[in-house]
Symmetry: C2
Subunit: 161 residues, 2 copies
Amino acid sequence: ARPRVGYFYRERHEPSAVAERLRRIRVGDFKSVPAVVRESVSIYEAIVAMFTQNVGSLIVVTEDRVLAGMVSRKDLLKAALGKNDLQQVPVGVIMTRMPNIFMTTPDEPVLDAARKLVQHQVDSLPVVEGFIDEQGDERYEVVGRFTKTNISKLFLDIGKA
Amino acid sequence: ARPRVGYFYRERHEPSAVAERLRRIRVGDFKSVPAVVRESVSIYEAIVAMFTQNVGSLIVVTEDRVLAGMVSRKDLLKAALGKNDLQQVPVGVIMTRMPNIFMTTPDEPVLDAARKLVQHQVDSLPVVEGFIDEQGDERYEVVGRFTKTNISKLFLDIGKA
């Protein structure tokens, strides 16, 4: 099998104009609208939201739209197989919880966000803006999501350029 | 919001060397090993295979490794919520069946395969090689899979170039 990494590198030796331009593109230019649910909704409602919005994962937020966690199709599938009462148990119980969430920000270069998606094997990153709450703790307002679909669209753009 | 399409195009007007090189890269250079199950396995076994192999969709094949269909996490989640006996019902009953499957081939340009993934809103394409069986029908041997993860890795390569 041919190597997957460095395919481009092998072919050219001077710096590439596209690569340089690519490094200047930010997540904020290419993010999607966030697909969110409150952490108090039931697992069943989360599953319905996932089908309705046709996304692979949902961002879970507190009542004031602050990032609380993430829940994936895989998490929901596991829950559906288990002994949970899907109508009663809140999605907050099964989600991956902060601070164990990989995030990005509107001004992060898309290449760095893409690296997070690939390295951590997740399909989606919440796009957040940090702020300090009244208790002096750092919290994150959810302003978008960045996915492998966003990268695929950008990839198609490069092919047209 | 800024437009998502043509972001690159707006910045330059001469043909891009990277875009041209990109058009020469084939699916066969970047595909992954296929994650397959036989159409006779139960829905439950398919769910286990999906977790074990950590993939978002499985390629369903006949006994002789010919493409029969595809099953996604979404399909399995729907089945898990339904009235099916997951241990008894074969995955072939709930899969998306040929000829309703979007496919790619090892010699297709990655840009064309990427366009299929984005346009048809699927996460994965089976990579196939067509052949004619004894009955004179066209069938497809599964030789790999091509996903948005493959595109994301290629995208990272471009950034390094």
